[in-house]
Subunit: 160 residues, 2 copies
């Protein structure tokens, strides 16, 4: 059996956009990043709420998030990170599948600190040209780079 | 030995403001909540960055966060939660000690969805009267209520 895609709510994420896979979690690049380097860590199991996670899923999601946050900070030369789960629709969750946003932060990266939250909630501001969807090639290249940086030796058989 | 306070960065949090204690984490009410029910879950060990946490700390912090989020959602009758770690100063972290914000969310709770992030970053808007510090009595009463709701049977000796 060969993995060909990962489920993300109602969406299907191609392998090319995934840069880390563990037994219970996977990390993916973003179609509409808030800023360059903004990636997601999701559970393999498609559940919508944080409280739906088992202890093993909690442990796996956040230890993989540590690996991801470390490499994102190194690659983007960020000094801080916003780590956020929009847990439910009223919190701005757009895909009903538990996922952690990992967003590199810099001094003065947003005109207002709160712009990042607005962007994260998928409510692009009309004056923000960066919120156009990226090309599949661009996303695949980013994932490929992160895969190498993270030293990801994921084995499809093992991950299944 | 009796616990009299918990360390939170350079601050000391009195027991009255703590409503859940585990071996490696504790949950506390907020001096300046973004909205009623906004609480924090922190590590016992005073480290500043998410990547400083051990696997055991990661597991404990987020499984306790599940207990906390469940009770916050029930008590406030919220339908969603914002779960966020400001990981580093450039991400708006005001106390250099790993802590997860648990914020109940409702339809139309903020004029703009992004106001919550601004508030979380401790940049109170001048027109927001809710951002004044609360009284110790008010905070103790909230913690007492949450302690009962969560069925917290924390034992000081055990927690130490």
């Amino acid at each position: 059996m060969t993995l060909s895609a990962f489920r993300f709510g109602p969406l299907s994420i191609p392998l090319e956009q995934v840069f880390l896979v563990s037994k219970l979690s996977y990390a993916l690049v973003n179609l509409k990043p808030v800023s360059p380097g903004h990636v997601l860590v999701a559970t393999r199991r498609p559940v919508s709420r944080f409280n739906d996670l088992t202890q093993l899923e909690v442990l796996d999601l956040f230890t993989q998030a540590q690996r991801v946050s470390k490499v994102v900070e190194r690659v983007t030369k960020a000094e801080s990170l916003t780590l956020c789960i929009q847990d439910g629709a009223k919190a701005g969750q757009s895909v009903p599948h538990v996922h952690l946003h990992v967003i590199p932060r810099f001094e003065g990266d947003f005109a207002n600190n709160d712009d990042i939250y607005d962007a994260m909630a998928h409510q692009p501001r009309v004056d923000n040209p960066e919120r156009t969807p990226r090309s599949p090639e661009d996303m695949a290249a980013e994932a490929q780079n992160l895969r190498q940086e993270i030293g990801s030796s994921w084995n499809e058989e093992e991950a299944l």
